[in-house]
C-alpha cells in the first residue's frame, strides 16, 4: 500500500455563525483503504464530508486529493476532481422525477456524455451488482422500499467506477438484516473497484464490517484514529463510551431532567 494519502485534511476549520463545527481537522485517507469517521450527532462528520466534496468551503485549512488542493479549485478543475468521487447520501437523494435507471446513469449521461442506451445498459449492470434485477430499472424512487433506495443510491455511487466513494450514514433507518446486506454490498463494491472509501456513521456494527481504520471526531477535532482491530482497546475513554453506547462518561449530552 502506498503511503501517500489519497485524501488529506490539514487543519480544516469550519464555523456557522458563532458555532465552531470543525476546529482544525487533520486526517489522512490512504489509497484503497476504507476509513470510517464516527462521532455523535452534530459533531461535524457530515460537514467534514461536505468540505471534501466541495459542497461547503472550509474557513481554514487544506484538503488535498491526490496531492491537489481542492479548496482552492473552481470551475473545470474542480469538476475534474469531482469525477473521481461517488457519493451515497444518507437519505439516498435520488431524483424523484427520474426512473431508477436514469438516476443510476445520471452522472454518465450528463457528466460524461454517454449515450442514453449505453448508459442504461451500464445502469442495469450496476443495479445487478447491488442485487436488484432489471425490472427495477423503470420504477420511480417513490415505488421503492428503504433498503432498495439505498441499493439504488449505492449503484449510482459506483456507476462511474469512481476512485473515491463517500458513504454518509449508509445504514441509517434500515433493519439490522438489511443494514448488514448494505454493509456487505459496500465492502464488495469498494473491493471490486479498488476504491478509497470514506464513510461516516453512528452504527458500530457497520463500522466493524466496512472499516479498515476508524477516526473519532469530537468537538470539531479528531480525538482518536486507529485500525478497526484496535477499536475495542483504544485506551480512549471517549471512544469507549461511544462504541458501547453508554450515557455515563466524558461525553455529556445536554438533556432536560424531568
Amino acid at each position: 500500500m502506498s503511503t501517500t494519502a489519497k485524501i488529506s485534511l490539514q487543519g480544516v476549520a469550519k464555523r456557522f455563525g458563532k458555532k465552531v463545527v470543525l476546529d482544525g481537522i487533520d486526517l489522512d485517507v490512504r489509497p484503497a483503504e476504507s476509513l470510517v469517521i464516527i462521532g455523535g450527532s452534530g459533531t461535524g462528520k457530515s460537514v467534514t464530508l461536505k468540505c471534501v466534496l466541495g459542497l461547503l468551503r472550509p474557513d481554514a485549512g487544506r484538503i488535498m486529493v491526490d496531492g491537489d488542493d481542492v479548496v482552492a479549485m473552481s470551475g473545470s478543475n474542480h469538476e475534474r476532481v469531482m469525477r473521481k468521487f461517488g457519493m451515497l447520501f444518507q437519505g439516498a437523494a435520488l431524483f424523484d422525477s427520474l426512473p431508477v435507471w436514469h438516476n443510476v446513469a445520471f452522472g454518465l449521461i450528463n457528466g460524461r456524455g454517454l449515450a442514453r442506451a449505453e448508459a442504461r445498459a451500464v445502469a442495469v449492470t450496476k443495479l445487478g451488482q447491488v442485487g436488484l434485477g432489471p425490472e427495477v430499472a423503470d420504477l420511480r424512487p417513490a415505488e421503492l422500499s428503504g433498503g432498495m433506495l439505498k441499493r439504488v443510491a449505492l449503484a449510482r455511487a459506483i456507476a462511474a467506477d469512481p476512485e473515491i466513494i463517500f458513504f454518509d450514514e449508509p445504514t441509517t433507518g434500515l433493519d439490522p438484516i438489511m443494514a448488514d446486506v448494505i454493509n456487505n454490498l459496500i465492502v464488495d463494491c469498494v473491493r471490486r473497484l479498488g476504491a478509497t472509501a470514506l464513510s461516516i456513521t453512528h452504527d458500530i456494527a457497520s463500522v466493524r464490517k466496512i472499516a479498515d481504520r476508524v477516526a473519532m471526531i469530537y468537538q470539531g477535532k479528531i480525538i482518536w484514529c486507529g485500525a478497526v482491530a484496535d477499536l475495542d482497546h483504544s485506551g480512549n475513554p471517549y471512544v469507549d463510551q461511544f462504541i458501547h453506547g453508554r450515557a455515563e462518561g466524558p461525553i455529556q449530552m445536554q438533556v432536560l431532567k424531568p
Binding site: F89, A93, F95, D96, F106, G107, N110
Partner: protein, 257 residues
C-alpha cells in the same frame, strides 16, 4: 438605541438579501452563454410553463375581457360613449390586463411549483447529489427555467390577448347588441403594434421575475417541510410584488411622454 439597532439590522438584512439575489441572478444568467446546455430540460420547462398554464391564463383572460366589456359599457353609457367598448377592451387587455393578470396567475401556478420542487430537492440533498454527479445545478435546474419563463410567458400573454378580446367581443355582441363586424373593425383600427409589443415585453419581464423568484427561494430553502412551505410563499409574494412594481416601470418606459 434598540430601535436604531433594529432598524440597522433590517437595512443590513435587506442589503444582504439584495446582494444574494444579485449574485444568484448573475450566476444563473452567465450559464445562458456557457455550454453545455440541457436542451431537454429547457423543452420540459417550456411545456410545463407554456402548455400547462394555458387553461388558467386563458380562463383568466376570457372572464377579464368579458367583465371589462360590461364595465366599460356601463360606465361609458353615462356620457353616451358606448362605442368605446371595443377600444378599451383591446387596449386594456393587450397593454395591461393580459400581461399583469397572466403574470400573477403564472406566479401562483409556476413560481410556487418551482420553489416547492427545487426546495424539496435542496432539503433532501438532491442538489448536492447533482454536484457530486458532475452536473452544475445552475445549468441543470435554474437556467432552463429562466429561459423557459422568458420565452413562454409572452406566448401565454399573446394567447391571453386574443382570448380576452374575444371575451369582450362575445359579451358586446351577444349581450349588449353590438354589431359584430363593427366591433371587430374598431378593435383592429385602434390597436397599434406598440400596444401588443409593450404587453409582450412586460410578459417577458414577468416570466423572468416569476421563474427567478421560484428558483431563488427554492434554492435557498432550508429546514425541511416548513422551509419549503416558506420558500413557496415567499416565491409567490415576492414575484407578485415585483410584477406590479416592474409593470409600472415598463409602462413608464413605453408610454411616458
Amino acid at each position: 438605541m434598540d430601535v436604531l439597532a433594529a432598524l440597522g439590522r433590517v437595512v443590513l438584512g435587506f442589503a444582504a438579501a439584495t446582494g444574494r439575489l444579485g449574485l444568484f441572478t448573475g450566476h444563473a444568467l452567465s450559464h445562458v452563454f456557457r455550454p453545455p446546455y440541457f436542451l431537454g430540460q429547457v423543452a420540459q420547462q417550456m411545456v410545463s410553463i407554456g402548455y400547462f398554464s394555458l387553461p388558467v391564463v386563458g380562463l383568466t383572460a376570457l372572464f377579464t375581457g368579458m367583465a371589462l366589456a360590461l364595465q366599460i359599457f356601463e360606465g361609458s353609457s353615462r356620457f353616451n360613449a358606448e362605442g368605446t367598448v371595443a377600444f378599451v377592451v383591446a387596449i386594456g387587455m393587450t397593454r395591461e390586463l393580459a400581461p399583469v393578470l397572466g403574470g400573477l396567475m403564472v406566479a401562483g401556478r409556476v413560481g410556487a411549483a418551482m420553489a416547492a420542487e427545487i426546495g424539496t430537492m435542496r432539503v433532501t440533498d438532491q442538489i448536492d447529489a447533482l454536484m457530486t454527479l458532475s452536473t452544475n445545478p445552475f445549468k441543470y435546474l435554474i437556467t432552463p427555467r429562466l429561459v423557459a419563463g422568458v420565452t413562454m410567458v409572452p406566448f401565454l400573454v399573446a394567447v391571453g390577448d386574443a382570448i380576452g378580446i374575444f371575451g369582450g367581443y362575445t359579451i358586446s355582441v351577444q349581450l349588449l347588441d353590438f354589431n359584430s363586424s363593427t366591433y371587430i373593425r374598431n378593435t383592429f383600427d385602434i390597436l397599434e403594434n406598440i400596444d401588443i409589443i409593450a404587453g409582450l415585453v412586460k410578459a417577458a419581464v414577468f416570466g423572468f421575475i416569476v421563474t427567478l423568484m421560484g428558483c431563488y427561494h427554492g434554492y435557498h430553502s432550508q429546514g425541511g417541510a416548513q422551509g419549503v412551505g416558506a420558500a413557496t410563499t415567499n416565491a409567490v409574494v415576492s414575484a407578485s410584488i415585483l410584477i406590479l412594481t416592474s409593470n409600472l416601470v415598463v409602462t413608464q418606459l413605453f408610454f411616458s411622454r
